[in-house]
């Protein structure tokens, strides 16, 4: 459909959002990401039955931790969408890019920003 969206997204393909680990997210922030979002299938649609629900639990745990350690949990989000919703993905990409721009660069790199990119972990669902 070639819908246009913000260029600041870098996608990491996974087998299922259920494969996401707290440390991978924390590592992304430590390495310089300004924002991370995990994209999983619609709840109930997961081909591996409950992968995306586990992912949601872990993302919430990391959000709480990010608040505690000062990065701010709202730099991390999880979205549920199906592979047919190209439009929705573009919408998310633009929304999160705007939101992260408001929040400003990663506090860890306030002075020397590494490459100003915001990576995203897309839990590929096929």
């Amino acid at each position: 459909m070639r819908l246009q969206y913000a260029t600041n997204i870098r996608i990491v393909e996974m087998t299922c959002s259920g494969n996401i680990d707290h440390r991978v997210i924390l590592n992304a922030f430590e390495e310089g990401a300004d924002g991370v979002f995990v994209a999983g299938c619609m709840e109930g649609d997961c081909h591996f039955l409950k992968g995306n629900i586990r992912a949601r639990k872990r993302v919430n745990a990391v959000k709480k931790l990010l608040d505690e350690i000062g990065i701010g949990g709202d730099r991390l989000e999880m979205y549920n969408l199906s592979s047919a919703q190209g439009g929705r993905f573009a919408e998310i990409a633009n929304d999160i890019t705007a939101k992260i721009k408001d929040l400003g660069p990663n506090p860890l790199f306030k002075n020397s920003s590494c490459c100003g990119c915001s990576c995203s972990k897309e839990g590929g669902d096929q």
């Binding site: 680990d21 707290h22 440390r23 924390l26 590592n27 922030f29 430590e30 931790l65 505690e68 350690i69 000062g70 990065i71 506090p107 860890l108």
Partner: protein, 222 residues
């Protein structure tokens, strides 16, 4: 197994606020099974600590390692190389582990977990206390239900009369242990055994006798 849960990250950070280099030691024993101190949690805590300290402008270097167990000298000795130039050690083991490390290394050793109780998993992610380590087990008298730990007053000749609808007077979510014992013994047809009056408990076998030791001459080596 021993059930323990993590302290708040802020509290842990405060314990090592002045250290430049910190070793975080996980334990692959009970605390891994109860999901609070395994390699995953250790590395998460290390990352969180590094990020916090960097944000405070007082960066810290972390070393992470997960021992097979922290309650056997050999496994603790294996950590010598890991912790040698660390200013402080954070142990993610139960209380036993922390003390072994403290004994072994003349470094500042701090606990990352609060050791809660001995128990088991009810459902994945929920654990329940089952044994109070009184050192003189009475389970054979109560059909396998421990009055010491599961009755709030730890009485031996219950119920105390305060229970309602089988729930303890302290809270309607807590079963009255003696109600459970009574039902259990009734179903096993051994109600008569409950009639015997139990003498006062010999608490010396428990904590009150001071720290305890268990010695097995037959297996001692050398």
């Amino acid at each position: 197994m021993i059930i323990a849960q993590q302290k708040q990250i802020k509290e842990i950070a405060a314990m090592v606020s002045d250290c430049k280099k910190v070793a975080l030691i996980g334990c692959a024993g009970c605390v891994t099974v109860c999901l609070s101190g395994g390699e995953k949690e250790t590395e998460i805590m290390a990352a969180a600590l590094r990020i916090m300290r960097k944000l405070e402008g007082n960066p810290v270097e972390t070393i992470t390692f997960t021992a097979t167990r922290q309650c056997d000298p050999e496994y603790v000795e294996a950590l010598d190389g890991v912790v040698k130039d660390a200013d402080a050690i954070i142990s993610l083991a139960c209380g036993v582990g922390v003390q072994y490390l403290a004994e072994r290394f003349d470094k500042w050793v701090v606990p990352a977990l609060d050791t809660n109780f001995i128990g088991g998993s009810k459902v994945h992610g929920v654990w329940e206390e089952k044994c109070g380590m009184c050192g003189d087990c009475v389970l054979h008298k109560t059909g396998g239900i421990c009055p010491i730990i599961r009755c709030s007053k730890s009485i031996l000749n219950g119920p105390c009369g305060g229970s309602q609808y089988g729930k303890c007077e302290i809270s309607k979510d807590v079963d009255c242990a003696w109600q459970l014992i009574y039902d259990r013994m009734k179903s096993l047809g051994k109600l008569d055994k409950l009639m015997a009056i139990q003498p006062p408990k010999d608490w010396t076998k428990s904590r009150d006798g001071g720290p305890r030791r268990a010695v097995r001459e037959d297996v001692m080596i050398g």
